[in-house]
Every structure is written in C-alpha cells, then in structure tokens.
C-alpha cells in the first residue's frame, strides 16, 4: 500500500506531513499483547503449589523428581530445603493444573524408591528412572489442603479399599511386624498396618486392616493369635505340625477364628479392641470365661505353679489359677509358723460344656460346695516332669474334718491335701528321723562285745574240734562202725528167729493156743466154785446134760 501511494505522489506531487505513527509499530504491540496474554494465561492456569514434609530428602532432587499418582505424572518438585527446626526437609512441588480437587487433608504422599524389606522387594523400576513421589488422593473432597506430611513408606493398605480396621493388644511383639499378613484359615484377608508399644499399659498394640468382604468374619467372639513360624503339638492323636503360609513362616503373621465351642457372635464396629494370643492353644487356655473364685491353702511348696496354670478334675480342665500370693493371706496367719500358701482359683463352667452364663457359675458353685462335703480336695500335681510345672488337681478323698464349707474373705475355701510327691517326701523324712533316733552307738558297742564273745567261742570250738579229731583218730573209735554193723547183723539173725515161719514162732503159737485151751477148760470150774465153793470136796448132784432132739426121734 505504501508503494502504491508513493507511485501516485510521483505522478502528482503531494506533500504531506509524517506526524502519523508508523503502522509497523503494531507488530511489537501485538507481540507484547500475546506475550502478556501468555504470561497471564500461564499464571492463572498453573497448577497448585504444595508443601510436603519428609524425614529426609533421600532420592529427592529439585526440578527433577516427579510427583505421580497411578504412574501418571502430575507434578514436579520445585525445591527441597531443610525445615526451620532442621529435623526434616520441606519439599515444594508444583502440580499440574486442575489437580486441586485431588488434594484433600487425607491425601497421602510417600517416596517410591528401591526397598527390600520383610514385605518383599519394591520400587525396582526407580533404579533407572530415579525416585519419585507417589501421591494418593483422599476421600475428604471438601477439606482441601496444600500442606502434607509425607509417609516414610508406602501405606500398607491402599486408600479407598473397603474393609475394617481393628485394634489388637498383645503381651509381646514377637515376630509380628507392620505389613505382616492376617490370615483366616490360611487365606490372606488383611494386613497389620501399625504397631505401637503402649507404655502405660505395657502392651503392644497393633492396628489391623481386614478387607471386605472378609471383615464380616470378625465378630465379637473372634479370637486372634500369632501364627508365626512352625508349631508342634504332641497329643494322644500323635504329633501335628502346623505351618503358616511361606510369608508368615518368614515374616510372621496373625490369624483369627471363632472357637468351636462358641457361637459366631455379632458384627463389630471399626476400632474394636481384641486380645492377641501367642498361639492357638493359648486361646483355649487363656480365654476369659464367666467364673467362680475359690481359695485353696496349700501346705506343699508351690514352686512350679504359675498364674494361668490349669485346674483339672481327673484330667479335664475346669479352671485357671489366678493368683498365688501370700498377700492374700491374713496378717494373723502370716505371723503363725507353718503358714499355708493361699492360691486363688477360678472355676470356669464353660470349660466343661456349660453355657458361659452367670447361671452356670452359681450352679457350679453350689455343686462344688456339695462336693467339698463329700470329700473333694485340691492337690498339687506335676504337669511336666521336664519343666516341673505344677497344676491343681481336684479329686475326691476320704471325708475328714476338713470336708466342710469354709469361707475366707468372702471366698469359699476348697480343702487341700498334700500331693503324692510331697507325701513321699514326708514319709522319707519320717524314716530318716527314725534312723536318726536309733541308738546306733549302743548297738555298735553291743555288736563289738558280741564279736569279742564270738572270738572266744571260736577259740573254744577250735579246742573242741581238736579233741574231736583226737577221738576220731583213736583206733577204737574207728572200729566202732564195723562193730555196729556186726551187731545189727546179729540182731537181724535174732529177729529172723521170731519170724512167722520160724520154729520159735510156731512153738509160741502152739503154747498160746494150749494156754487158751486151758483157760477155757478152767472156766467152768471157776464158775462152779463161784456158785458153790465146797464143790471140790462135796460132789454136786448134777444130772446129765439135756440133749438136742432129732426130728425123726421126736415124741
């Protein structure tokens, strides 16, 4: 256009002033406007700037470290600096535009870097790419924030996963740590999220997350126990070995279930606290039941008896020892010698199949009072010869003066009897006492005297034996057996003379029979003389004998 106007001026010389600003200057203005628009647009459309606090800045680098969520790059670390207290670092990152809605007070940040831990190896990809900050948005949409506390490591449970969080309380943190699995009958259903030591209660507390739908498995009758490692159990059925999953074998874990003898129970709310038992058997051993307390005073030593020791009736567990302490006893009793050791027992009816209710407790109390009168007594017995641990055994013994209900500090007393081992000990001591009382000195003295007498007796005997030897050596004595034999021989000959076949025997028999005959013949004479003494001189006028009559001659 300018060239056209110049040509027309050459043809018609028109002179005009040059006061107008050259149009060429619009170009820079336009450029400036565009620049301003771009700057403005860039400023007003930039993403939010957030501040994250970390314990240290390992792997973090300003201008290089990215911020990612679900592996999508949403920002960049702009600066890394120490906090004012110098006990941590402050990381400032600029996120991409339109990410403000993700930033809530529940958003979580942590540094992803190569890690090798009990939970496994993670973050290997960052070896090449370098560490980055992982970010998970929270649920609280209304509560927008730009200041966050970074996590030390990846959260155990991803945010938004449905499930339930509960608390466990245990005596020891043995082989259970954060990240360890929670299993139900061998199936992985959750994780241990936190572990703390409660200084006041002196217990270890765990926060456990159980995923839905498995969270429904946890009821108010559920018991948790440590399933770490390998457990051996020797019973009448043989030896059983319980192995958890490989993961729990290496790193430990917790499992839970409802005991067979309990109903499933009711659902629980989040944050419910449960006890953590060291193993499965201790769940049955140490469970808390409705119970009735009884007191036993033992004469025997209670060494080996511990709190929690079982109370058995003929091998069936019916309760637990709750307290062994002299402090339970009366002050007056403490002053007396031969003090018996008070032991507090808890009889738990639920252990013998009765419902775990107060009614069962009162029933068992009444029953035990009756049994006490029938001779029920407590005794200490050895549970394990290896460890010397004791348990309290209840059984019936002969009724004696102790078999009556007595009360001590409002607690009924079960009478006690010395254990078999203690009884043997007492008997052995009694025997030893008797030995001690034996007059051993006097006895030994007497034995010595006796030995002296025996010596002299032996000397006398030696002398006698010498004399006997002399007598035996005599020829007359030696001839004695031969003479004796000869005499016997002669006697034999003589005796043969009196044999039934011998002439002498015959003669004797004959003489005897003659003598007999003579006596018989003299008999009538003696009778006659008895009747008539003078019949020898004056003849008796006796007629002829009457004759037997023959049948043929009968008149």
């Amino acid at each position: 256009m300018q060239s056209q106007s110049a040509q027309s001026q050459d043809n018609q010389a028109l002179i005009s002033s040059h006061r107008q600003v050259s149009k060429v200057w619009f170009i820079p203005f336009i450029a400036l406007a565009i620049g301003l628009w771009m700057v403005g647009d860039s400023y007003f459309n930039r993403g939010p700037l957030i501040t994250i606090e970390f314990a240290d800045a390992e792997g973090l680098e300003a201008g290089k470290t990215r911020v990612k969520t679900l592996n999508v790059d949403i920002g960049l670390v702009t600066s890394v600096s120490l906090n004012p207290n110098r006990d941590g670092v402050v990381v400032i990152a600029r996120l991409n535009p339109h990410t403000e809605s993700l930033l809530t007070s529940e958003s979580l940040f942590w540094v992803v870097k190569p890690r090798i831990g009990s939970g496994g190896i993670s973050g290997l990809s960052t070896l090449m790419s370098g560490s980055y900050i992982e970010f998970v948005s929270g649920d609280g949409h209304d509560d927008v924030s730009d200041h966050f506390i970074g996590l030390e490591q990846e959260p155990i449970t991803a945010l938004g996963v449905p499930g339930i969080r509960i608390n466990l309380k245990g005596d020891q943190g043995k082989s259970v740590s954060v990240g360890d699995p929670v299993t139900y009958r061998g199936f992985d259903v959750g994780r241990i999220e936190q572990s703390d030591f409660d200084i006041e209660q002196r217990v270890v507390k765990y926060q456990v997350f159980i995923r839905a739908p498995y969270s429904n498995l946890v009821t108010d009758n559920t018991y948790f126990w440590n399933s770490s490692g390998v457990s051996f159990e020797a019973s009448a059925q043989g030896i059983s070995v319980n192995l958890g999953s490989i993961e729990s074998l290496i790193s430990g874990g917790i499992t839970f279930d409802v005991p067979d003898d309990l109903p499933l129970g009711n659902k629980i709310s989040a944050g419910t606290e449960f006890n953590l038992y060291p193993n499965k058997s201790s769940v049955y051993e140490q469970r808390k039941y409705q119970s009735q307390e009884f007191m036993v005073f033992f004469e025997d030593s209670v060494r080996g008896l511990s709190v929690g020791a079982p109370i058995e009736y003929r091998g069936i567990r019916i309760g637990t020892v709750t307290e062994i302490s002299l402090a339970l006893a009366d002050k007056k009793q403490i002053e007396t010698a031969g003090l018996r050791i008070p032991v507090l027992l808890r009889i738990e009816p639920a252990r013998i199949g009765m419902p775990d209710q107060p009614a069962s407790v009162s029933k068992v109390k009444a029953q035990i009072e009756t049994w006490i009168e029938q001779g029920l007594k407590a005794t200490l017995k050895t549970g394990s010869l290896l460890t010397g641990s004791l348990f309290v055994d209840l059984d019936f013994y002969p009724i004696d003066k102790l078999s009556k209900t007595e009360v001590f500090n409002q607690i009924n007393i079960i009478p006690s009897v010395s254990g078999s081992l203690a009884q043997i000990e007492q008997k052995v001591f009694a025997i030893l006492d008797k030995f001690e009382q034996l007059p051993i000195d006097v006895t030994v003295e007497n034995i010595n005297k006796m030995l002296v007498s025996a010596n002299s007796a032996m000397a006398t005997m030696d002398q006698t034996v010498e004399q006997l030897k002399f007598i035996l050596a005599n020829k007359d004595t030696q001839a004695l057996p031969a003479t004796l034999a000869q005499t016997l021989k002669q006697l034999n000959t003589v005796m043969q003379g009196y044999d039934s076949d011998s002439a002498l025997y015959g003669e004797m028999t004959q003489t005897m029979s003659q003598l007999q005959l003579m006596i018989r013949q003299v008999q009538p004479l003696i009778k006659e003389l008895n009747n008539k003494p003078n019949s020898l001189i004056f003849e008796t006028q006796a007629g002829a004998d009457p004759e037997p009559k023959g049948l043929n001659n009968e008149d």
Binding site: S513, Q523, P524, A544, P546, P548, G550, N553
Partner: protein
C-alpha cells in the same frame, strides 16, 4: 509113819466116796479126717486168717439153746480142740477137696506170692437147739491187698434129724461146709 498112812487112806476113802455115779465126758471133733488131696501151689491163695468167736462160744463146752433163747452150757460134752481152729480146718479141708480154682490155707503169711485173698470170719451162733435146729450164723469179709472187697452176713440152719450131740456136731460140720461153698462162690463173683 503108820498114823500118817492111815490118815491119807482115810481121806482118800472119804473123797472117793463122794465121787461115785458121775456121767462120762464126751469129746467131739468138728470135721472128719481129710481125704488125700494134692494141692496146686500156683493157684491163688485164700487164707482163713482170723476166725473170731463171740464170748459165750469161747469155751470148750458145747452150747445148747432152748426154745426161749436160753443157752445151756453142757457139762459133759466138750470140743476136742479150740472151736475157731476146728471151724477153719473144716472149711479149708472142704474147699481144697471140692474145687481147683484156688487153694485154701489156714494161717496167713505175709509173703503169699501171686494173688492172695483173706477171709475174716466172726461166728455169732454155732449150736444146736432143742427144737430140732442147728444154727451157724455170723459175718465174713473178703480182703484183697488190704482192701475189703466183700462183706456178707450169713445165717445157716439145718434141721436136726437124729438125737444127741454127735448128730448135732455132724450137722454143724455140714453148715461149715455150706458156708465154705458160699464164700467160694462169692469170691468167684467178685473176681
């Protein structure tokens, strides 16, 4: 001296005067003499070892019983030998003559050799009666090796046909023979 002789003669005369008109004593033998008989020594032996008499029979005089059961001991009729020997001998003689199954023997010897039986006999009645009867009653035992194998009571009677003690003794002899036969039969059955 003369006076002494005269006194002795006077006494004898006096005594002999009292002993006139007295009946004679008759002696009786139960069994007659045995016949000649050889006995086989290999036969089993039967010993009539012990023959016991009840007390009233232990005398030499014969006994007579009247009808009312009274016993009369005769004065002038006597056994010629002890009655138990007479009975035993009578039975032994009869058995050895009448059979050949065993030999009978009077006296027991401990060494009899082979089979050996013993008879124990108790005689309770052995007399004639006035009512024409002769009675032999009692009991016997058969013994083998010290064990009683049989015991039997017996009561044998025979009618007396002739008068007098001679006939009565003969009948008694017959009764002993009868008993010996019974014993022999019994022994045959128990064997």
């Amino acid at each position: 001296m003369k006076t002494r002789v005269a006194f002795f003669v006077a006494v004898v005369a006096l005594l002999t005067a009292c002993s006139s008109g007295k009946p004679n004593i008759n002696y009786y033998q139960l069994s007659p003499a045995p016949t000649t008989q050889q006995v086989d020594l290999n036969l089993p032996t039967l010993f009539f070892e012990t023959i016991s008499l009840v007390d009233y029979l232990k005398q030499t005089n014969l006994i007579l019983a009247n009808d009312s059961g009274q016993l009369y001991v005769t004065r002038y009729h006597v056994w010629a030998e002890p009655l138990e020997q007479a009975i035993a001998r009578s039975m032994v003689n009869h058995l050895n003559q009448s059979q050949q199954k065993f030999r009978a023997q009077h006296q027991f010897k401990s060494s009899c050799g082979g089979q050996c039986y013993r008879v124990k006999l108790l005689v309770e009645q052995f007399y004639p009666t006035e009512s024409n009867q002769v009675i032999f009653a009692g009991k016997y035992q058969l013994i083998k090796d010290g064990k009683v194998i049989a015991q039997q009571d017996f009561n044998l009677q025979q009618t007396l046909k002739q008068d007098g003690y001679g006939a009565a003794v003969s009948s008694l002899h017959q009764l002993t023979i009868q008993l010996a036969s019974q014993i022999a039969q019994r022994l045959a059955t128990v064997e």
